[in-house]
Protein backbone atom coordinates (compact mmCIF):
# COMPACT_ATOMS: atom_id res chain seq x y z
CA UNK A 1 0.00 0.00 0.00
CA UNK A 2 1.64 3.16 -1.16
CA UNK A 3 -0.12 6.46 -1.02
CA UNK A 4 1.38 9.72 -2.17
CA UNK A 5 -0.87 11.57 0.18
CA UNK A 6 0.58 14.99 -0.41
CA UNK A 7 2.62 15.56 -3.47
CA UNK A 8 3.67 19.16 -3.23
CA UNK A 9 3.72 21.29 -0.17
CA UNK A 10 4.76 24.88 -0.54
CA UNK A 11 4.84 25.71 3.08
CA UNK A 12 7.76 26.77 5.15
CA UNK A 13 9.13 24.00 7.32
CA UNK A 14 7.88 25.72 10.44
CA UNK A 15 4.38 26.03 9.06
CA UNK A 16 4.37 22.47 7.83
CA UNK A 17 5.46 21.08 11.14
CA UNK A 18 2.90 23.11 12.98
CA UNK A 19 0.07 22.07 10.75
CA UNK A 20 0.98 18.49 11.25
CA UNK A 21 1.13 19.06 14.95
CA UNK A 22 -2.41 20.34 14.79
CA UNK A 23 -3.50 16.99 13.57
CA UNK A 24 -2.29 15.03 16.54
CA UNK A 25 -4.97 16.48 18.79
CA UNK A 26 -5.80 13.76 21.21
CA UNK A 27 -2.64 12.24 22.42
CA UNK A 28 1.08 12.07 22.32
CA UNK A 29 1.39 9.13 20.06
CA UNK A 30 4.42 8.21 18.09
CA UNK A 31 7.01 8.21 20.83
CA UNK A 32 8.48 5.00 19.55
CA UNK A 33 10.20 6.28 16.47
CA UNK A 34 12.99 4.71 14.57
CA UNK A 35 14.96 7.35 12.74
CA UNK A 36 16.42 6.20 9.49
CA UNK A 37 18.42 9.19 8.37
CA UNK A 38 19.36 9.13 4.74
CA UNK A 39 20.39 12.61 3.64
CA UNK A 40 22.20 11.06 0.72
CA UNK A 41 21.24 13.87 -1.61
CA UNK A 42 22.06 16.66 0.79
CA UNK A 43 23.36 19.66 -1.09
CA UNK A 44 26.25 20.95 0.97
CA UNK A 45 26.86 23.93 -1.28
CA UNK A 46 23.32 25.07 -1.05
CA UNK A 47 23.22 24.64 2.69
CA UNK A 48 26.20 26.93 3.09
CA UNK A 49 24.41 29.61 1.17
CA UNK A 50 21.12 29.10 2.95
CA UNK A 51 20.16 31.45 5.70
CA UNK A 52 17.93 29.01 7.62
CA UNK A 53 19.00 26.65 10.34
CA UNK A 54 18.20 23.50 8.37
CA UNK A 55 20.39 21.83 5.77
CA UNK A 56 18.94 21.33 2.30
CA UNK A 57 18.56 17.79 1.02
CA UNK A 58 16.33 14.75 0.93
CA UNK A 59 15.33 13.27 4.24
CA UNK A 60 13.52 10.15 5.26
CA UNK A 61 12.21 9.06 8.63
CA UNK A 62 9.87 6.44 9.99
CA UNK A 63 7.38 7.05 12.76
CA UNK A 64 5.10 4.65 14.54
CA UNK A 65 1.88 5.36 16.31
CA UNK A 66 -0.78 3.58 18.30
CA UNK A 67 -4.10 2.88 16.71
CA UNK A 68 -6.98 0.90 18.09
CA UNK A 69 -5.86 -1.70 15.60
CA UNK A 70 -2.36 -1.90 17.03
CA UNK A 71 0.96 -0.23 16.33
CA UNK A 72 1.34 1.03 12.80
CA UNK A 73 3.97 3.08 11.08
CA UNK A 74 4.47 5.52 8.27
CA UNK A 75 7.57 6.46 6.32
CA UNK A 76 7.87 10.14 5.51
CA UNK A 77 10.20 11.40 2.80
CA UNK A 78 10.65 15.08 2.23
CA UNK A 79 12.90 17.39 0.30
CA UNK A 80 14.17 20.50 2.00
CA UNK A 81 15.27 23.41 -0.18
CA UNK A 82 18.08 25.75 0.76
CA UNK A 83 15.59 28.50 1.51
CA UNK A 84 13.99 26.31 4.14
CA UNK A 85 10.88 25.37 2.18
CA UNK A 86 9.67 21.81 1.85
CA UNK A 87 9.39 21.09 -1.84
CA UNK A 88 8.19 17.50 -1.74
CA UNK A 89 6.62 15.22 0.84
CA UNK A 90 5.52 11.65 0.50
CA UNK A 91 3.94 9.50 3.16
CA UNK A 92 3.89 5.75 2.86
CA UNK A 93 1.78 3.87 5.37
CA UNK A 94 3.48 0.60 6.22
CA UNK A 95 0.66 -1.91 6.03
CA UNK A 96 1.34 -4.70 8.45
CA UNK A 97 -1.87 -6.59 8.98
CA UNK A 98 -3.72 -6.44 12.26
CA UNK A 99 -7.18 -5.14 12.89
CA UNK A 100 -6.95 -2.29 10.42
CA UNK A 101 -6.31 -4.63 7.57
CA UNK A 102 -9.05 -6.95 8.72
CA UNK A 103 -11.45 -4.08 8.77
CA UNK A 104 -10.39 -2.82 5.43
CA UNK A 105 -10.99 -6.27 4.07
CA UNK A 106 -14.37 -6.46 5.72
CA UNK A 107 -15.49 -3.08 4.46
CA UNK A 108 -14.06 -3.81 1.07
CA UNK A 109 -16.36 -6.77 0.82
CA UNK A 110 -19.42 -4.73 1.63
CA UNK A 111 -18.78 -1.46 -0.05
CA UNK A 112 -16.12 -1.78 -2.67
CA UNK A 113 -18.58 -3.93 -4.57
CA UNK A 114 -20.92 -1.00 -4.81
CA UNK A 115 -18.51 1.90 -5.05
CA UNK A 116 -15.31 1.31 -6.92
CA UNK A 117 -13.97 4.83 -7.01
CA UNK A 118 -11.04 6.19 -9.00
CA UNK A 119 -7.33 5.82 -8.40
CA UNK A 120 -6.15 8.93 -6.60
CA UNK A 121 -2.99 8.86 -8.68
CA UNK A 122 -5.18 9.47 -11.72
CA UNK A 123 -6.84 12.52 -10.24
CA UNK A 124 -5.68 16.10 -10.32
CA UNK A 125 -6.05 16.85 -6.63
CA UNK A 126 -4.02 18.70 -4.04
CA UNK A 127 -5.31 16.99 -0.92
CA UNK A 128 -6.94 13.82 0.34
CA UNK A 129 -9.67 13.65 2.95
CA UNK A 130 -10.72 10.46 4.62
CA UNK A 131 -10.38 8.67 7.89
CA UNK A 132 -7.42 10.09 9.68
CA UNK A 133 -5.07 8.40 12.04
CA UNK A 134 -1.65 8.79 10.57
CA UNK A 135 -1.00 12.16 12.09
CA UNK A 136 0.79 11.04 15.24
CA UNK A 137 3.25 8.93 13.34
CA UNK A 138 3.64 11.54 10.66
CA UNK A 139 4.37 14.17 13.24
CA UNK A 140 6.92 12.02 15.01
CA UNK A 141 8.65 11.32 11.75
CA UNK A 142 8.81 15.00 10.84
CA UNK A 143 10.25 15.77 14.25
CA UNK A 144 13.03 13.32 13.49
CA UNK A 145 13.67 15.06 10.22
CA UNK A 146 13.77 18.46 11.87
CA UNK A 147 16.23 17.27 14.48
CA UNK A 148 18.40 15.72 11.83
CA UNK A 149 18.35 18.76 9.56
CA UNK A 150 19.10 21.17 12.38
CA UNK A 151 22.12 19.17 13.49
Amino acid sequence: MTLPRTKKLTLTTVAAATLLLSACGGSDEGDDTTPTPSPEAADETASEEGSGSYSAGDYSAEGSYQTPGGTQSVVVDLTLEEDGTVSAVTVEPQADGGNSEQFQTKFAGGIADKVVGVKIDDLNVSKVSGSSLTSGGFNAAVDEIKAEAAA
Binding site: A23, G26, A112, V115, K119
Partner: protein
Amino acid sequence: MTARVVEFDRTWSRFRDDGAVARLRAGETVDLGPDAPALLGLYDRLEALSDGAVNPLVGGGLEALGYDAGYSLRPMGAPVAAPAWSSARRDGSTLTLPEGSVLDVGAAGKGFLVDAVAAVVLATGQQCVVDASGDLAHHGPTSDAAPLGVALEHPADPSRAVGVAELAPGRALCGSATNRRAWGQDLHHVLDARDGRPARDVVATWVVAGSAAEADGLATALFFLDPVGNADRLAAAGWPDLEAVWLDATGLHATSSFTGEVFA
Protein backbone atom coordinates in the same frame (compact mmCIF):
# COMPACT_ATOMS: atom_id res chain seq x y z
CA MET B 1 1.05 28.51 17.16
CA THR B 2 2.49 25.48 18.90
CA ALA B 3 1.45 26.97 22.22
CA ARG B 4 -2.08 27.34 20.93
CA VAL B 5 -2.22 23.68 19.96
CA VAL B 6 -0.63 22.46 23.18
CA GLU B 7 -3.04 24.45 25.27
CA PHE B 8 -6.02 23.14 23.36
CA ASP B 9 -4.82 19.58 23.84
CA ARG B 10 -4.22 20.10 27.54
CA THR B 11 -7.70 21.49 28.04
CA TRP B 12 -9.78 19.19 25.92
CA SER B 13 -8.01 15.85 25.44
CA ARG B 14 -9.68 12.77 26.81
CA PHE B 15 -6.37 10.95 26.49
CA ARG B 16 -4.48 12.62 29.30
CA ASP B 17 -4.97 12.46 33.04
CA ASP B 18 -3.68 15.92 33.89
CA GLY B 19 -6.24 17.98 32.03
CA ALA B 20 -9.68 19.40 32.49
CA VAL B 21 -11.45 16.24 31.41
CA ALA B 22 -10.15 14.34 34.43
CA ARG B 23 -11.30 17.06 36.81
CA LEU B 24 -14.71 17.29 35.19
CA ARG B 25 -15.05 13.56 35.61
CA ALA B 26 -14.49 13.98 39.34
CA GLY B 27 -17.39 16.38 39.45
CA GLU B 28 -15.34 19.55 39.75
CA THR B 29 -16.44 22.80 38.17
CA VAL B 30 -13.79 23.62 35.58
CA ASP B 31 -13.06 26.76 33.59
CA LEU B 32 -12.40 25.50 30.08
CA GLY B 33 -11.07 28.81 28.85
CA PRO B 34 -11.83 31.09 25.94
CA ASP B 35 -12.58 28.30 23.44
CA ALA B 36 -15.37 26.88 25.58
CA PRO B 37 -18.33 29.08 24.62
CA ALA B 38 -17.82 28.59 20.89
CA LEU B 39 -16.98 24.89 21.00
CA LEU B 40 -19.67 23.92 23.50
CA GLY B 41 -22.12 26.21 21.73
CA LEU B 42 -21.52 24.26 18.54
CA TYR B 43 -22.23 21.06 20.46
CA ASP B 44 -25.53 22.56 21.63
CA ARG B 45 -26.57 22.93 18.00
CA LEU B 46 -25.32 19.49 16.98
CA GLU B 47 -26.98 17.80 19.92
CA ALA B 48 -30.32 19.40 19.15
CA LEU B 49 -30.02 18.68 15.45
CA SER B 50 -29.23 15.01 15.99
CA ASP B 51 -31.78 14.46 18.79
CA GLY B 52 -28.95 13.65 21.16
CA ALA B 53 -26.98 11.25 18.97
CA VAL B 54 -24.09 13.76 19.03
CA ASN B 55 -23.30 14.62 22.64
CA PRO B 56 -19.91 15.60 24.09
CA LEU B 57 -20.54 13.36 27.10
CA VAL B 58 -20.10 10.31 24.89
CA GLY B 59 -16.63 9.69 26.35
CA GLY B 60 -17.91 7.15 28.86
CA GLY B 61 -19.55 5.21 26.08
CA LEU B 62 -16.30 5.13 24.13
CA GLU B 63 -14.46 3.88 27.20
CA ALA B 64 -17.08 1.19 27.73
CA LEU B 65 -16.32 -0.12 24.26
CA GLY B 66 -12.62 -0.10 24.98
CA TYR B 67 -11.61 3.16 23.29
CA ASP B 68 -10.06 4.54 26.44
CA ALA B 69 -6.93 6.52 27.21
CA GLY B 70 -4.96 3.29 27.53
CA TYR B 71 -6.35 1.88 24.28
CA SER B 72 -7.45 -1.29 26.06
CA LEU B 73 -9.75 -1.98 23.09
CA ARG B 74 -11.75 -4.50 25.00
CA PRO B 75 -15.42 -3.79 25.59
CA MET B 76 -16.25 -3.66 29.28
CA GLY B 77 -19.79 -4.97 29.43
CA ALA B 78 -22.73 -3.50 27.63
CA PRO B 79 -22.69 -0.22 25.69
CA VAL B 80 -23.28 2.81 27.89
CA ALA B 81 -25.55 5.69 26.92
CA ALA B 82 -24.16 9.16 27.54
CA PRO B 83 -25.58 11.33 30.31
CA ALA B 84 -27.97 13.90 28.87
CA TRP B 85 -26.14 17.00 27.66
CA SER B 86 -28.81 18.99 29.49
CA SER B 87 -27.43 17.60 32.75
CA ALA B 88 -24.28 19.68 32.23
CA ARG B 89 -24.26 23.07 33.96
CA ARG B 90 -22.60 25.92 32.09
CA ASP B 91 -21.74 29.43 33.13
CA GLY B 92 -19.70 31.24 30.53
CA SER B 93 -16.59 29.17 30.06
CA THR B 94 -17.09 27.02 33.16
CA LEU B 95 -18.64 23.59 33.07
CA THR B 96 -19.88 21.18 35.71
CA LEU B 97 -20.83 17.62 34.86
CA PRO B 98 -22.53 14.85 36.80
CA GLU B 99 -19.73 12.94 38.54
CA GLY B 100 -18.31 10.20 36.35
CA SER B 101 -19.18 11.94 33.08
CA VAL B 102 -16.45 11.85 30.46
CA LEU B 103 -16.20 14.82 28.12
CA ASP B 104 -15.17 13.92 24.58
CA VAL B 105 -15.04 16.62 21.92
CA GLY B 106 -13.92 14.20 19.24
CA ALA B 107 -16.80 15.09 16.93
CA ALA B 108 -15.83 18.73 16.43
CA GLY B 109 -12.65 19.39 18.37
CA LYS B 110 -10.23 18.66 15.59
CA GLY B 111 -12.03 20.91 13.14
CA PHE B 112 -12.16 23.59 15.82
CA LEU B 113 -8.39 23.35 16.16
CA VAL B 114 -7.96 23.62 12.39
CA ASP B 115 -9.82 26.91 12.53
CA ALA B 116 -7.75 28.05 15.50
CA VAL B 117 -4.48 27.32 13.72
CA ALA B 118 -5.73 29.08 10.60
CA ALA B 119 -6.65 32.10 12.71
CA VAL B 120 -3.11 32.30 14.05
CA VAL B 121 -1.72 32.37 10.52
CA LEU B 122 -4.33 34.76 9.17
CA ALA B 123 -3.63 37.16 12.03
CA THR B 124 -0.13 37.59 10.64
CA GLY B 125 -1.58 38.68 7.31
CA GLN B 126 -0.61 35.46 5.54
CA GLN B 127 -2.83 33.04 3.68
CA CYS B 128 -2.80 29.33 4.30
CA VAL B 129 -4.37 25.96 3.80
CA VAL B 130 -4.53 24.07 7.08
CA ASP B 131 -4.59 20.34 6.51
CA ALA B 132 -5.01 18.25 9.64
CA SER B 133 -4.80 14.93 7.86
CA GLY B 134 -7.76 15.52 5.63
CA ASP B 135 -9.77 17.85 7.83
CA LEU B 136 -8.85 21.08 6.17
CA ALA B 137 -9.58 24.76 5.86
CA HIS B 138 -8.82 26.66 2.65
CA HIS B 139 -7.63 30.18 3.33
CA GLY B 140 -5.36 30.24 0.34
CA PRO B 141 -4.84 32.89 -2.29
CA THR B 142 -8.16 34.30 -3.39
CA SER B 143 -6.87 36.38 -6.28
CA ASP B 144 -7.48 33.60 -8.77
CA ALA B 145 -10.35 32.18 -6.71
CA ALA B 146 -8.95 28.76 -7.39
CA PRO B 147 -10.75 25.94 -5.64
CA LEU B 148 -8.67 23.28 -3.96
CA GLY B 149 -9.19 19.82 -5.39
CA VAL B 150 -9.58 17.34 -2.54
CA ALA B 151 -9.94 13.62 -3.11
CA LEU B 152 -12.51 11.88 -0.92
CA GLU B 153 -10.69 8.76 0.18
CA HIS B 154 -12.40 5.43 -0.35
CA PRO B 155 -13.01 3.98 3.12
CA ALA B 156 -11.98 0.53 1.97
CA ASP B 157 -9.03 1.50 -0.23
CA PRO B 158 -6.84 4.52 0.56
CA SER B 159 -5.40 4.45 -2.94
CA ARG B 160 -8.79 5.27 -4.41
CA ALA B 161 -11.22 8.16 -4.17
CA VAL B 162 -15.00 8.06 -4.24
CA GLY B 163 -15.15 11.70 -5.29
CA VAL B 164 -13.40 15.03 -5.51
CA ALA B 165 -14.48 18.16 -3.68
CA GLU B 166 -13.75 21.55 -5.22
CA LEU B 167 -13.13 23.55 -2.09
CA ALA B 168 -13.51 27.28 -2.55
CA PRO B 169 -11.39 29.77 -0.60
CA GLY B 170 -12.95 30.49 2.75
CA ARG B 171 -14.49 27.04 2.99
CA ALA B 172 -13.56 24.00 5.04
CA LEU B 173 -13.91 20.27 4.42
CA CYS B 174 -13.95 17.53 7.02
CA GLY B 175 -14.51 13.83 6.65
CA SER B 176 -15.24 11.02 9.03
CA ALA B 177 -15.08 7.31 8.42
CA THR B 178 -15.43 4.28 10.61
CA ASN B 179 -12.90 2.04 8.94
CA ARG B 180 -9.63 3.00 10.52
CA ARG B 181 -10.44 3.72 14.12
CA ALA B 182 -12.10 0.37 14.52
CA TRP B 183 -11.04 -2.46 16.76
CA GLY B 184 -13.43 -5.36 16.65
CA GLN B 185 -16.64 -6.71 15.26
CA ASP B 186 -18.73 -3.63 14.52
CA LEU B 187 -16.72 -1.58 17.01
CA HIS B 188 -15.53 1.85 15.92
CA HIS B 189 -15.27 5.36 17.24
CA VAL B 190 -18.47 6.99 16.00
CA LEU B 191 -21.03 6.26 18.70
CA ASP B 192 -24.68 7.10 19.00
CA ALA B 193 -24.59 8.80 22.40
CA ARG B 194 -28.19 7.79 23.05
CA ASP B 195 -27.37 4.12 23.39
CA GLY B 196 -23.59 4.02 23.29
CA ARG B 197 -23.52 1.80 20.24
CA PRO B 198 -21.42 2.43 17.13
CA ALA B 199 -23.23 3.90 14.17
CA ARG B 200 -24.40 1.11 11.92
CA ASP B 201 -25.85 2.51 8.74
CA VAL B 202 -23.29 5.02 7.50
CA VAL B 203 -19.67 4.24 6.76
CA ALA B 204 -18.17 7.57 5.73
CA THR B 205 -19.21 11.21 5.54
CA TRP B 206 -17.76 14.47 4.22
CA VAL B 207 -19.11 17.96 4.83
CA VAL B 208 -18.11 21.32 3.38
CA ALA B 209 -18.99 24.29 5.58
CA GLY B 210 -17.92 27.78 6.46
CA SER B 211 -15.66 26.58 9.25
CA ALA B 212 -13.80 23.37 9.92
CA ALA B 213 -15.44 23.07 13.33
CA GLU B 214 -18.89 23.02 11.76
CA ALA B 215 -17.80 20.68 8.97
CA ASP B 216 -16.23 18.29 11.46
CA GLY B 217 -19.23 18.23 13.79
CA LEU B 218 -21.71 17.88 10.96
CA ALA B 219 -19.68 15.05 9.44
CA THR B 220 -20.31 13.17 12.67
CA ALA B 221 -23.97 14.19 12.84
CA LEU B 222 -24.58 12.79 9.37
CA PHE B 223 -23.91 9.31 10.69
CA PHE B 224 -27.31 9.70 12.35
CA LEU B 225 -29.12 12.11 10.06
CA ASP B 226 -29.89 11.91 6.36
CA PRO B 227 -29.12 15.43 5.12
CA VAL B 228 -31.63 15.21 2.26
CA GLY B 229 -34.55 14.00 4.34
CA ASN B 230 -33.63 16.48 7.07
CA ALA B 231 -32.82 19.46 4.88
CA ASP B 232 -35.45 21.57 6.62
CA ARG B 233 -34.07 20.78 10.07
CA LEU B 234 -30.56 21.54 8.91
CA ALA B 235 -31.70 24.86 7.52
CA ALA B 236 -33.53 25.68 10.74
CA ALA B 237 -30.36 24.88 12.67
CA GLY B 238 -28.40 27.35 10.58
CA TRP B 239 -27.02 25.02 7.94
CA PRO B 240 -29.11 25.50 4.80
CA ASP B 241 -28.09 23.85 1.54
CA LEU B 242 -25.52 21.66 3.25
CA GLU B 243 -22.71 20.39 1.05
CA ALA B 244 -22.31 16.75 1.95
CA VAL B 245 -21.22 13.39 0.59
CA TRP B 246 -21.84 10.14 2.40
CA LEU B 247 -21.49 6.42 1.92
CA ASP B 248 -24.01 4.02 3.41
CA ALA B 249 -25.16 0.50 2.79
CA THR B 250 -27.07 1.61 -0.29
CA GLY B 251 -24.13 3.36 -1.88
CA LEU B 252 -22.67 6.80 -2.37
CA HIS B 253 -24.77 9.95 -2.08
CA ALA B 254 -24.28 13.70 -2.34
CA THR B 255 -26.51 16.66 -1.67
CA SER B 256 -27.38 18.84 -4.65
CA SER B 257 -25.34 21.67 -3.11
CA PHE B 258 -22.11 19.69 -3.13
CA THR B 259 -19.47 21.32 -5.31
CA GLY B 260 -17.39 18.64 -6.92
CA GLU B 261 -17.81 15.20 -8.34
CA VAL B 262 -18.71 11.80 -6.94
CA PHE B 263 -17.82 8.58 -8.71
CA ALA B 264 -20.99 6.59 -8.38
